[in-house]
Symmetry: C2
Subunit: 303 residues, 2 copies
Amino acid sequence: MKFEVLILGTNAALPHNNKITSAQVLNADEYLYLLDCGEGTQMKLEKFKVRKNKIKAIFISHLHGDHFFGLPGLLTSFGHHHRKDPLHIFGPVGITRYVQVVLDTCQAFLGYDVRIVETDTATSQIIYTDQKIQVSTIPLKHRIPTNGYLIRQVERPYNLDGEKIKKYNLSIEQIRQIKDGKDIYLSEGNRLRWQDMTLTPVKQKAYAYCTDTVYDETIVALINGVDLLYHETTYLDDMSKEAQERMHSTISDAAKIAVLAGAGKLLTGHYSGRYLTTDDFLHAGKKLFEPTLLSYEGLVIPI
Amino acid sequence: MKFEVLILGTNAALPHNNKITSAQVLNADEYLYLLDCGEGTQMKLEKFKVRKNKIKAIFISHLHGDHFFGLPGLLTSFGHHHRKDPLHIFGPVGITRYVQVVLDTCQAFLGYDVRIVETDTATSQIIYTDQKIQVSTIPLKHRIPTNGYLIRQVERPYNLDGEKIKKYNLSIEQIRQIKDGKDIYLSEGNRLRWQDMTLTPVKQKAYAYCTDTVYDETIVALINGVDLLYHETTYLDDMSKEAQERMHSTISDAAKIAVLAGAGKLLTGHYSGRYLTTDDFLHAGKKLFEPTLLSYEGLVIPI
């Protein structure tokens, strides 16, 4: 089952040289999700031939412009492209008012439902589940309320345990419910747990998206053992004082978190415009954590 | 004195193939002004090496997303680039609330003043004057309140009429005021009109920016004799019924207005995404009005 990330933008603060700020597409078996949405995201979605209308949900980390100014254009483009499916949007408090005022200002007729949920950036909570993924929040420490997102693959429909299924005379509908991860009530109080009727799923992959944040070890417990960790690396280590003040991370901060969390790989990004190339991020990262990767526009990483 | 337009975007509704929606830069003797601001405008300003901080004012025609979704990114970029000069923004009712909510949402510290004036889209009014230009509104007929902008060059400082100046014993300050187009009071009731003390200025150029609008002859009186008329041409003539319904113009609509107004040249644009090339706009336009021009990203037109 496909579970991969496509990078659309890696700049901190400002677009530059036709490269945009934060935006990524998560593809879970052709269910698509957007992580942040900097200005110009819709242009990059077109460039990389992403089928926009397959995006189920958008997860915004925080309300600095470089992470959400592409939202209005994308929402109205969905309408122009005759989207019918509802769109889920998650983000910190303030995002509902923002989207409402934008849509109100341009008197947009979208033609589909926008369902916005404001996240509690102080505690980790499961906020979204569908057939392919489960998403929970990761509280982060930045200048304004911010949370990352932990995305775990779920495997549905579950594979039935044939032996056990034979024992009960289940209807097609009941079997469908078990495959979908729902318990069955044969009679009052006589419950069949879906876990008992299905084979143990293969270990599911997990992706942690952590931006923007200062170095903060409290997230380690939440992201322990993730296969891929995206952790912002706004600066090289020469700017560690500024990183602390501005509540951003250096490359070594990110690599240390990857080590502590036992992550499979570290994906760096959110590079400050002061750096003309990102090579030094790779070298510095690999010193502390060998499986460090650079992000760049168009990169696809299987998780 | 330079008086020219740089085209940043010509698409109707949606960006496509890395081309953006409406945005133009007017350069009046190195005073810069922005006409509309579609998503990605700041990227195109960078691409064409426009010195962003020299932009004095932004004129928004109406609050459909393809004309103003680039505003938030540009406003925060000005801040990142240490802008200090105030920025004037003009646009229909609703733009103040929009800008305030955006800036409030991202808790932006801009470091410069934003001075917003909401336009009355029903009547033509002079809304802005500085050392280089005077701008008045052109009421347009679209699905939501919309106005175009008529921009006239002003020539300041005015050239003094040496003969007349000699007659009065004026101070340097008084001479400066006359050059700047201000009258002088020698004593109570004894006024020297600046027009009487200066040479007749050479004919000043005018640019009319008219988008979005259905065919509407009532604008002809306002734009009479302009040197360059930008008039939206969303469709070719095969779509005249749809143009009418959607309150847009065809190429022939625009050419007819150019003829009626005695414009020097017609600049077309705001092309629907249904057309793969714009050649047919040029041919159809020239049939009715020979000095018809196509707009495209990067085009610079002296007015």
